[in-house]
Symmetry: C4
Subunit: 210 residues, 4 copies
């Protein structure tokens, strides 16, 4: 199967998942009490919406970056991709839980754990998809430096999300702030320093040599 | 009408149906009681989400496989395809019912029957679409072995789903487990042994000769 | 602007509107009472889902048929198309109202009026879009017989839907049955006799000569 | 990255956001009281649905107009575009709030402020995206008159929406009417006088010379 068709279907799931995040601000709830106060008190929901939107948006960009290096798609890759989309389409749920349960410490921790588990699994699947694809499905003309750059740039993803998840046991606020920081870091580094991969790869290799 | 346009529209419905499965984990419900317990108790919903996501995902792959063999699309095929999409877009509903009513035996049985009826009808429509298309709309260069391989691989679909549905009268748990097993079997056989069709066709023909 | 881009966006709206029809069977409601009885009593909702799905599905086919005859899209056409999509995306609402209020006569009548008003306006917009496009945006190589065939086939649409709507004042059941019959007639005539337009046009011209 | 891929993903978000506006008419609420009265009393919701649909529809047209002038898309543009889509996908929320809280003056004012803030931010992001893109990513063969025409036509957007927003402090009705008028003005001027930009640019330049 050509990569174009798989990307088109994946684009659809990314676009719908990102738009369904509006459920996280409670578009289906009847507001209660004074409307002004209600809307202002929704700030954790707006924040959760923005962080998850940014996160899925960056994942969409990365998804294309990966597939651009593949010559074709085989059956195991199709399955890996469906599993990845299963996680992406799941994100609105932990986002909403995090948005609505950012008040008591114990609820916040559980919400952060659910969010973190989802993101960590997504990062693992992204890494698995790239590891499989870069070994079996690479285009003949794929640039080896780009390929190894992407590999190194994907290494910190899983540990970063796993750390933010485990942080919830110490402080749920710190955990949630770290999720936002990861999204912001990826977005800004991508926008300001050119290619995320290149940037992160550079950081990783300087760490290797130190 | 070209097959490309029909596939693009179908891709849209598949992608949206699969993303709306998030309703099955109750994204629109206000959680109650302790959040941790609430989230853990949702495990049947997570399972239902995963099984239906996998099932629709594999159906999307198969949909392309079928249309790749068609030269064009005529009016009866358009109608058959709309009916098939009507069933695909319906799947989130029985999935949610199965997710939320997996507690008492009688509710579980009714949920399994609804789920099974939906899946059996979908399998019948898939088979009808292929039977019609493979007789009237085949590409001149379609490989006869691929065509007969697909035909044989589609034969067990309807009986398998019908059996899982009827199983609900004996045990609803067994029925639901069988739905999950069918999805898993198709996903793994497709991923591990190359083309599903080929694999299933081989099983079918060895059964023929025995 | 090319027609391809407009068609892709329109396809998206058609695909999402059709998939959101699942709201009409109450996917977001918590079932109450005995699940088996609840699911069986939903039959008007299943019917409403099927009728609207079929109707939007056929409209999607016709939308492509029209745009296939256009060389390009200008600004008035863009506005007409946005207005048409506004109606298409609205259909899930009257469908749900019709699905849930098919019990008392007065509620049924109001539901039928809302559904009928939506469908009649949609038919008018379809006709306006075609009248405008066929006069200003036709491809140089458009077949005049196809063009006049489509024109004649679109003439009965608005009166048919208007009649079904007004019928609600006499009998809401008759009105709802007529909506279903229109959808079924278009679907079957399209599937069995080739091109809807041709069929309907033939009927229309034989009526002209009688 | 090619502009085509970014436009396809953006089209998806536009199409889904516009279709989710159906939530603004309360498709997920159980109607109460007499159905006829309930449906008639929904008129502010129908109006809000139409205004937001028209507004997002026109933004979709403009989005293509902008990207048609770009040769390619770089990382900062990807981020700007994701932020823009974040606002577009948010529109169904303020639309619903405006639709359901159009009764008391204080609620209406807060609803108008939320709606206005969303629209003003969207206008700013549209302007930023164009300013960045027209300086860094222009196609070699982009028509300088078209480019400066678009620039001038985008100047009034932010002040117009900001004015309508601030108007809410004087009168919420006037504010809401102005949002509808802006949408209608853009739609009609685009449809009747050819290119919006050209029209608005002409108005803007005649204002410059006066």
């Amino acid at each position: 199967m050509e990569t174009g068709r798989v990307e088109a279907f994946s684009d659809g799931v990314f676009a719908i998942a990102v738009t369904l995040l509006i459920l996280a601000v409670g578009i289906d709830r009847a507001p209660h009490g004074d409307l002004g106060t209600y809307l202002v008190d929704l700030w954790p929901a707006y924040l959760a919406y923005a962080v998850s939107f940014l996160t899925i948006g960056i994942m969409w960009v990365n998804h294309h970056l990966l597939f651009d290096n593949f010559a074709r798609v085989d059956r195991p890759m199709l399955l890996l991709n469906i599993l990845l989309l299963m996680l992406i389409a799941f994100v609105p749920f932990p986002t909403r839980i995090a948005a609505e349960f950012a008040r008591s410490e114990v609820d916040r921790r559980n919400a952060a754990l659910l969010y973190g588990l989802t993101m960590t699994t997504t990062a693992i699947l992204f890494f698995a998809l790239w590891m499989y694809g870069s070994r079996r499905l690479l285009r003949a003309d794929a640039d080896p430096r780009v390929v190894s750059g992407i590999t190194r740039s994907y290494l910190p993803g899983t540990p970063l999300y796993a750390t933010a998840t485990l942080l919830a046991f110490a402080s749920s606020i710190a955990s949630l702030v770290m999720f936002a920081a990861i999204a912001l870091f990826y977005a800004l580094s991508a926008a300001l320093f050119g290619r995320t991969d290149a940037t992160v790869a550079r950081t990783a290799s300087s760490a290797d040599t130190s």
